[in-house]
Amino acid sequence: MADNFYLDNADIRFHLNHVGLDDVTRMREDDYRQAKEFPDAPADFGDAVDSYDKVLEMVGEICGSMIAPRAAEVDEEGAHFEAGKVRYAAGTVQNLRDLTQAQLMGVMLPRRYGGLNCPVTIYTMMTEMVSRADASLQNLFGLQDIAETISRFGDEDQKARYLPRFANGEADGAMALTEPEAGSDLQAVQLKARQDPDTGQWVLNGMKRFITNGCAKVLLVLARSEEGTRDGRGLSMFVCERCPDLVVRRIENKLGIHGSPTCELQFNNVPAELVGQRRRGLTRYVMSLMNGARVAISAQALGIAEAAYRVGCKYAREREQFGKPILKFPAVYEMLVRNKVGILAARSLLYETTKHVDLRDCLDEHNRHRDEVPTEDIQREKAFTRMAAELTPLAKAFCTELANEVSYDTIQVHGGTGYMRDFPAERFYRDARITNIYEGTTQLQYVAAIGGVVQRLLEPLMNQLSVLPFEGKLRRLASAVDMAREKLQRAVRVVEQKNDTDYFDLMARRLCRMETLVLIGYLLLRDALRDKARECVAERFVIDWLPEVNEHYEVVDSNDYSLIDTHEQILAL
């Protein structure tokens, strides 16, 4: 059997079988009424899971046997900028053709526009595999989030014009948000949108920078539509087509993800259409787009971690020193086990997150199309919205930092060989490095999550998980997680009672990290309950990872202001 990134990954299959998409799929399929209209729609939940499984198997085959073998060349060749035009690496062109022929460019889009109508969870599994094969390809594959945004917020006419083009692969997308002076702080976006008072036509003028695939046919652009405003409430979302007035000025020369062109764009009176309502560009649409992209980047990071871990493990088994494979040395297997447990932990967190995102999206869609929505359903939607908004940044921070750790260790396991470009280890290391930066740095993920940590948003989920029928060893491990959770709760109270902004901001990272570790502890225990072979994974996590909670607790509880007081002094030395 040729390499198949789905069949060789029992953990993804485990999550497909256990994530629990019953409600999500039922809602997405309109109680399976779509089967009457579309020949590819499932007749029931079993049928749907069977389709997901088969499609994932096929994606695994494409990733393992077609995309992965081209990855080194794509990295070497990279995207180029010639005569004012962007040219993809040859391997990237083939990859995009394969993905288009495989009908994978509209995975989540509704069927009436030619999409596959798959949940985010399934799309994320694909993302993970694509990234494992070629991280830079994910940046292009993942741009179907653009179509998803038009699908959610565009009007019927826009959907009918744009979505089928995305689904059949004719149009590719880009989201143009960042500007030289508006990076992490998107409220500072200046690109101007002006409406002709007579014709109603909008035109865009200004600069965008660091735009992934800015050479795309269809771009979503965040622009200032309200003259004289300075904050996020003066920004709106626009869609425009590639045209001579939209100039790609240059592309960046980057550390990694070489296959993905990062463009600088100049808009000279580019005609555009408003998407959704004015002034909601940043506050509503970009936040939604960004949250989708954060899930995708989490999966990209996880895919890189998986790829790196696998080559590290293979090398450690084959490489002999001192008369035996280096895997036999505790110093080496300790690293690899930590990598593996981290990957399993990240996957449990990621698919718990996508499940909540799926439920939120389905309830939102469901409620939007009803004349009268019962209060109970509105409450449910709100609850899942809050949970998804909390889990997403936590997952992004964990998965992307992990990818950096794993790819770092992979080079270490290889020794000098790993530093050489003949082996893929150094590529994974370079590719991983952007994941904890774009779509919001890890530091900003914690800013996004800390409010929910203080409000104890995840308590209901933790409550559910903590009362599962653990016995024997799992019971003892669960007690350890319970104790870590108490520390977390106490740490939150300490910071709250201080009521000091500096201290709060400084401790946010630690509280978010504690929250993440405790939640993962419970998730791995739950997974061990479903599959006894995973008991040792839960054990490793509790023994090797959870003590970090204590460290953070001690710092938080220390009431130590010295860093706040002396940082300038130290930096001045």
Partner: protein
């Protein structure tokens, strides 16, 4: 213009990924231990057929002869974009050599009806004979171009194709209908389409439908007849033909119709003792090359 194209394909053991259990004690292939796949060059033939359909319009049918499980490669053909599929399966087809195989395929092609092009892979990775395509053309009394790299055009009852020959290639123009055998280097077969997969995963043969209902006698079950009608209407029907469905002389099928007899199978066991020191001199290398030529390893 629209083309009617019939592709012949074979399900083969995946010899590219041999494991320790690939051979039985007696030295024959252990088919059960090897994954069954779509013969690689038949995928190239199918890809060429689909590309020609995209260029000229028309219809692509795929036919295979094999055990009931060979329906799997026909479903794969549907996922890739084939319009129609036919499974030739019957115990009496079993044990066929290339002569009996091409006889059966010729009968199937006649039953299928007229088409402009018949496409086969150059050869299958299990037998490596490259004989079935040419024999099939002879039996159907069709012209043939073997080792095809690409098709330049098809129009007004003629075709122009580029075929590989020793040390180069030739451009051949010929009348249609015609049979082509297609090389691995001719194209990169497309991946399966996700949407088509979700649709055609439900495509079944008559035997599979019957087995799904517990193998009850098919002829008597009105229920199954109705279900078959529904499946046919939705394009989810894999035609299944046995010996009795073909106008043919049953003596030419399968083992009975195969003059090829295996005289002897030699199980070559490589042992670790077969090492030899070759001195790193011109003379040493020359001796080694001569030895390899004598053993027919080099020619």
């Amino acid at each position: 213009m629209s083309l009617s194209i019939l592709v012949f394909a074979k399900q083969v053991p995946d010899t590219a990924n041999i494991t320790g259990q690939a051979m039985k004690e007696d030295g024959t292939v252990n088919r059960a231990a090897l994954p069954a796949i779509f013969n690689p060059e038949d995928l190239n033939a199918l890809e060429l057929a689909l590309e020609l359909r995209e260029r000229y319009g028309g219809k692509v049918a795929v036919c295979t002869m094999g055990p009931p499980a060979a329906a799997n490669i026909l479903r794969r053909a549907l996922y890739m974009g084939a319009d129609e599929t036919i499974l030739l399966t019957d115990r009496r087809f079993a044990g066929a050599d290339t002569l009996a195989t091409s006889y059966a395929l010729a009968c199937a092609a006649r039953k299928y009806g007229s088409c402009d092009l018949i496409l086969c892979g150059r050869q299958a990775i299990d037998g490596d004979t490259a004989q079935v395509g040419p024999q099939l053309a002879e039996k159907l009394d069709l012209p043939q171009i073997t080792y095809v790299e690409s098709v330049e055009w098809v129009r007004k009852g003629r075709i122009r194709a580029k075929a590989q020959i020793d040390g180069g290639y030739e451009i051949i123009e010929a009348p249609t209908p015609i049979l082509l055998t297609v090389l691995a280097s001719s194209n990169a077969p497309r991946p399966v389409g996700a949407k088509r997969l979700m649709q055609y995963k439900k495509a079944v043969t008559r035997s599979e439908l019957s087995a799904r209902h517990g193998g009850r006698d098919y002829e008597d079950a009105n229920l199954l007849a109705a279900e078959e009608e529904g499946l046919r209407a939705r394009g989810l029907w894999i035609y299944e033909w046995g010996v009795d469905d073909l106008e043919a002389d049953a003596r030419h099928f399968g083992l009975a119709g195969s003059p090829t007899k295996v005289k002897q199978i030699e199980s070559v066991v490589l042992t670790g003792s077969g090492t030899k020191d070759v001195p790193p001199t011109d003379e040493g290398i020359r001796d080694l090359v001569h030895e390899l030529i004598e053993d027919h390893i080099l020619s």
